[in-house]
C-alpha cells in the first residue's frame, strides 16, 4: 500500500477526511510520520526567544511623537495656492452676502461652483505627487487610507445629493471633501501649515 504524501498527512492531522484517512489510522509508519510532524511543531514552539531591542519603547514614543503635527513654519508654494483658493472662496461668499439681488436665505448658493473648483484644484495638486516615492510612516499610511475611504463615501453622498439637488447638503459635502483633500495634502507635504488654509475657509 502506498503511504500518503505529506500534504495528505497534514490534511488528516488537521481533521480533514481523505481517501487515506483509514490507512493512516492503522499504519504505524504513517503514525510515526505524524509524530515527527508534531515533534517538529513542538520544537518550533520552543525555539530560542530573541531579546527585544534596547530602548524599544522609548524609540516607539519618539517615533510616534515625530509623526504628530509640527508647529507652523515658513509657507511653501503649495500652501500659498491653498491660501489663495481659500481667500477666493471667502471673497465670493462675501460678495454673495452683499448682493442686493440675493436674499439672505440663499447666500452660499453661488459658492458651490467655487467649492467644486477648489476641490478640483486640490485633486490636481495631489495628482502631481509621486506617492510611491514618498517616505510615509505607518501612521501616515493609515491616515491616508482612512481619508481615501472617507472620500469614497463622500463621493457616493455627493452623487446622491446631486440627483436630489440638495444645495445646502451639497455645500456641506463639498466643504468636507476639500477638508479631506487638504489633510491628505498636509500629510504628503508633511506641512501642517496647509491646515491653516482649511481653518480660514471654515470661517466662511
Amino acid at each position: 500500500m502506498n503511504h500518503p504524501n505529506i500534504t495528505e498527512l497534514l490534511a488528516i492531522r488537521d481533521g480533514e477526511s481523505t481517501s487515506a484517512s483509514v490507512h493512516v489510522s492503522t499504519c504505524q509508519i504513517c503514525q510515526d510520520e505524524l509524530n515527527k510532524i508534531e515533534i517538529l511543531v513542538a520544537e518550533l514552539c520552543h525555539l530560542h526567544e530573541p531579546q527585544l531591542p534596547e530602548d524599544a519603547w522609548e524609540k516607539i514614543v519618539a517615533k510616534h511623537n515625530n509623526t504628530q503635527p509640527k508647529p507652523p513654519g515658513k509657507p511653501t508654494p503649495l500652501s500659498k495656492v491653498l491660501y489663495a483658493l481659500a481667500a477666493s472662496v471667502l471673497l465670493v461668499g462675501f460678495i454673495t452676502l452683499l448682493s442686493p439681488n440675493k436674499t439672505i436665505n440663499t447666500p452660499l448658493v453661488s459658492v458651490l461652483p467655487e467649492l467644486k473648483a477648489e476641490s478640483r484644484a486640490l485633486e490636481h495638486i495631489l495628482a502631481n505627487y509621486q506617492t510611491n516615492s514618498l517616505e510615509l510612516s505607518a501612521s501616515q499610511q493609515f491616515k491616508i487610507e482612512k481619508i481615501q475611504w472617507e472620500l469614497m463615501l463622500l463621493d457616493q453622498k455627493l452623487s446622491l445629493n446631486n440627483k436630489q439637488n440638495n444645495e445646502k447638503q451639497l455645500e456641506k459635502l463639498w466643504l468636507n471633501r476639500i477638508e479631506n483633500l487638504t489633510t491628505l495634502h498636509a500629510i504628503y507635504n508633511n506641512n501642517p501649515e496647509v491646515m491653516l488654509a482649511q481653518s480660514t475657509r471654515n470661517l466662511i
Binding site: 504524501n5 505529506i6 510532524i37 515533534i39 511543531v41 518550533l44 524599544a56 510616534h64 505607518a138
Partner: protein, 204 residues
C-alpha cells in the same frame, strides 16, 4: 482563528485598554510590556531580519497608540494586536521584495551564548542536544523562502487557518497548503541529513 501556541493569547485587564483608549501613555507602555515579546518574535520569524523586525515592532505599537479607539472588546486584545503585527510584517516584506529570499543565519551568536551557559550545568549532553535541534531548526527556518516561512509560522504557531492565510496573501488555500507541505518537507530533510536529533523519530 485558533490561538494554540501563540504568545498573543495572554490576556490583559480591560481597564488597561480603557485607560489606553483615553490616551494614558503608561497604559500603552504596560500593553507594550505584555505583548512586545510576542510581536518581536512573530516579526523576526516572519521577516527573518532584526532590522525589519524592529521596524515591525515600532510600527505595530505606533498603530496601537493611534488606533486603539477602534478596538472593540468583542475579540481578545492580543488577537487584534497580532493582526496588526502580521499586516505590518507583510507590508515590510512586500516593501523589501528586492531583498534575496535566502538570508543569512543571524542568531548563531545568541545561541552560542545560550549553549555556553547551559554547558556549565550538569546536563551538558541535554544542552548540546537541544542546541543541535534548535540550531538546525533556526537555520532551516531562516533558509526557507519568505512565503513558505510565513505560512509555516502563521499556521503552526499562530494557529491561522489555510483560508485566513490565503486571504492575507491574496492566494488560494491550496497555495497555502502546498507551501506548508514544502516547509515540513524541508524541515524533515534537514533534520534527517544534518542532526538526526534523538527527539525526532527515525526515518521510516
Amino acid at each position: 482563528m485558533k490561538e494554540n501556541n501563540s504568545l498573543f493569547s495572554q490576556t490583559i485587564e480591560p481597564s488597561l485598554i480603557t485607560r489606553a483608549q483615553q490616551g494614558d501613555l503608561t497604559a500603552h507602555e504596560a500593553i507594550f510590556k505584555c505583548y512586545s515579546k510576542a510581536t518581536y518574535i512573530l516579526a523576526l520569524r516572519l521577516c527573518n531580519q532584526k532590522e525589519m523586525a524592529e521596524d515591525v515592532l515600532q510600527n505595530t505599537f505606533i498603530k496601537v497608540i493611534d488606533c486603539i479607539d477602534s478596538f472593540q472588546c468583542q475579540a481578545p486584545f492580543g488577537m487584534w494586536l497580532r493582526k496588526i503585527a502580521v499586516n505590518e510584517s507583510l507590508m515590510i516584506l512586500r516593501k523589501n521584495r528586492q531583498l534575496p529570499q535566502l538570508v543569512s543565519y543571524e542568531h548563531s551568536d545568541t545561541l552560542n551564548n545560550v549553549i555556553e551557559l547551559d554547558l556549565q550545568t550538569k546536563q551538558q549532553h541535554c544542552a548540546i542536544h537541544q542546541y543541535q535541534v534548535q540550531s538546525t531548526l533556526e537555520k532551516t527556518l531562516a533558509q526557507l523562502p519568505a512565503q513558505t516561512r510565513l505560512v509555516l509560522w502563521l499556521k503552526e504557531i499562530e494557529g491561522y487557518s489555510h483560508q485566513e492565510i490565503a486571504e492575507l496573501m491574496g492566494k488560494s488555500e491550496s497555495f497555502s497548503k502546498s507551501l506548508l507541505s514544502r516547509a515540513f518537507g524541508r524541515l524533515r530533510t534537514c533534520f534527517s541529513r544534518d542532526n538526526n536529533p534523538k527527539s525526532l523519530v527515525e526515518e521510516p
